[in-house]
Symmetry: C2
């Protein structure tokens, strides 16, 4: 049922992440989108997928910082349809901030 979530499938600026997604692959996809666009959206359903998504965003943050791009993100809940079922997904809106602040 979650086959479509199996890899980080990037179309337009939406990236769907599964529990089985590789964080570095997702991070690369995020970084690629952010280098071309000013925003990206990452969607994940379930604790395992959200875990991978957050790790991928942290890695992408690191990648892009090397290029002087500082990304920030805003989480929200969205309803998505997976097959016949409606589920609540976490959606992460990723944006570029031109005001780098203290990091740890």
């Amino acid at each position: 049922m979650l086959e479509n979530y199996d890899k980080a499938a990037a179309y337009s600026n939406l990236i769907k992440v599964a529990a089985s997604s590789r964080t570095t692959a997702v991070a690369g996809a995020i970084a690629g989108i952010m280098r071309q666009n000013s925003s990206a959206k990452v969607q994940a359903v379930g604790a395992g997928a959200i875990n991978q998504a957050v790790k991928a965003i942290a890695i992408a943050h690191r990648y892009l910082l090397q290029d002087g791009i500082y990304i920030i993100f805003v989480p929200s809940f969205v309803d998505v349809k997976i097959g016949p079922e409606e589920k609540t997904a976490m959606s992460f809106l990723i944006e570029i901030s031109d005001a780098p602040t203290q990091s740890n």
Copy 2:
């Protein structure tokens, strides 16, 4: 071993989240800190805890938006000591952005 992670313990501006933390309680703690400070830090170890942390941040985002406060966050990896063990935690730096952008 993870007792100290059992509830959202807020001291200074650091909030530790466990898999068993209630998202609304953590969200309330985040919102409380953000109303007083310009930043907060949320730490979580493991997929379950990261899941709760991200949901809590999304809820806090919603709470604070009602007060006209727009929060964003930046994830990173940190090494933490839990008892004798060293673990990699996700650290979420939460900040106020004064540039509200498109949300979904």
